[in-house]
Symmetry: C2
Subunit: 358 residues, 2 copies
Amino acid sequence: MMKRHYPTLAEVAKVAGVSLMTASRAINNRPGVSPEKREDILRIADEMGYVANRAAQKLTGARTRIIGVVAELHTPFTSDLLLGMGAVARAADYEMLVYSLPVCDRRPPHSIIEMLRQIADGVIVILPYESDYLESMATAHIPVVTIEQGIESAFPSVTADNYQGGCAALRHLIELGHRRIAFISGNDRLTSARDRRRAYRDVLAQARLPHDPALEVDGDFLRKSGFEAAQKLLALDDRPTAIFAANDTSAYGAIAAIREAGLSVPGDISVVGFDDIPIASQLHPQLTTVRQPLQQMARASVNLLLALIAGLDAPSEQIVLPTQLIVRESTTPLKVKRKKEEAVKVERASAGAANLAR
Amino acid sequence: MMKRHYPTLAEVAKVAGVSLMTASRAINNRPGVSPEKREDILRIADEMGYVANRAAQKLTGARTRIIGVVAELHTPFTSDLLLGMGAVARAADYEMLVYSLPVCDRRPPHSIIEMLRQIADGVIVILPYESDYLESMATAHIPVVTIEQGIESAFPSVTADNYQGGCAALRHLIELGHRRIAFISGNDRLTSARDRRRAYRDVLAQARLPHDPALEVDGDFLRKSGFEAAQKLLALDDRPTAIFAANDTSAYGAIAAIREAGLSVPGDISVVGFDDIPIASQLHPQLTTVRQPLQQMARASVNLLLALIAGLDAPSEQIVLPTQLIVRESTTPLKVKRKKEEAVKVERASAGAANLAR
DNA sequence: CAGCCGAACGTTAGCGCTAACGTTCTGTCG
DNA sequence: CGACAGAACGTTAGCGCTAACGTTCGGCTG
């Protein structure tokens, strides 16, 4: 492994026959250098393979053109978000470094933010959980933008509209004629999971449908929990005709349980997921689900952070991006036969629901 | 957002009533400080919330206790590897920062390594593709360990034994009596994919089974490619009784195609995957596959890097970790009926195969 | 043509830290 | 008891860079 010497600015300046500061000005595209000399210096710097030392830059208080990201890599979509953010950052001539948060660890991230502060110009925190993390960042002396932390955050933030997405999913089922609609929840530590649950309850209430606690089963976003939740639902005397699962993975778990019970999706039970994971359009049945605006979230968060870095004191902006219902094969209108059977039970409810369904 | 002042070492020293260097020695646990004073200084530093400035440390040539990782986040398993590596690093009192490589981009990573060099003490490169990247790192003046780059790499490296895993998968099928075994390849830009293909060919040859090019279909690790590859295989006059797919995702794609054709897995066709993705043990059928030693790879790579950082000039070590065949439901012995049909065709081959199967 | 202004440079002082030396002081031994 | 070793500190210089001042000099004005 041959060791190479990395030239310093001083060496570039010496070769170019100018002072340190002239070289610095030329390279940082600042005024005070004649065009010819600037070109000269840039050419020489390039030939010498000069790379500015960001540690030294940071030490003087200058920008490093690096943004830091704190994320839990195991959380679904985090990679997609990161890829999108990286592309946006690079387009703005910024680099991005990611700190991978240990799974389910609540240890003070104090030192993490402080570390990133010494390296980056700003930090994006992808933190699906409520956490004490954020409080300790309040004094961090560096621009911070959060993703998925929900409205209550004290920071400028970017979120997907989970509530609206959940409402759309549920209205879709109601429009299809379903009245007994179950919910398989996600991990309620996540604000996104709570918003989806809230949407379920609210839309039921708006449609004047009864809220049967037996139809609201706890899950944790995993396939297995969806499977088991669906088994519980199928065991009910009066089983649901539709299920809204808090995410696609648990939706597919539920579908597996339904099929194992000898029933079909959507023939017997309609299923809606949430997230639009890539295989949702490939697996059979193709899943009706709510798509998260990941690319827009990535773009919005980076742009917001760059604005903060540039000193635009965005007044603690909260950006909520719309989600989108994608209707595929896993939902279908309630069968008339069954509809009749149920007609009596939900008579009162129907009026409200029809109303809501326009 | 209240701004806080971060104390410098000088301020800590002043409060403690000692010189800068004494404080530095105390905090870095170096000799030359009396025990009482050391304790004093550490306590005061803690009270003041002192955090060493890594940019400044790096500038003086000292360790920052940060390792850098360059990875393509979208590649399967990268997150698992990163999580494992992060845990190992933290256990050694190191922090880890990840640079997310843009997808399929071959632009000079020159500046990436140079950037990390200014921040980290060493770099791990998770680079499934052959690439010019590595060459430019050769002069990087910083310890580098690669993962998945294959034996030919000039760097200390850690890899999974894809070849051995592929051999195990194929021997398993041969032991089950299969003679017409197809291969659905991965993206051959990846060394792992090439190794698995090589294993397929070599074991066939060792077993003196004929190598039918029609049974070797190109894929790209994606579900869709597995689906389409299987369709091609099913359309053959003399279709295979077993398929070895280069990864689990394409294996499930193949299974979907087989079922769509009205056949069953493993009843009509046995399928082996590679990777042991989490749902391989949950989806029906549970997939027979080859497990990658991700945790060991994470541990080995970090430990190797830390050794290099510590100055142990490990002589360009190449660590190859064993993979493990996990037999589940998607493979079954060849049916006797069919076996008889085929017996004539592969008569010569059988002897060799039986031999190999012990 | 003195005076002044501004562009184009150069010089100096630090950012926060550590390596490499000084300095002081105590104990110890011939 | 002088010399000397070594522990426990302090001082200095510098890592690579930039902000904030100097300095020079051509050109313009009254």
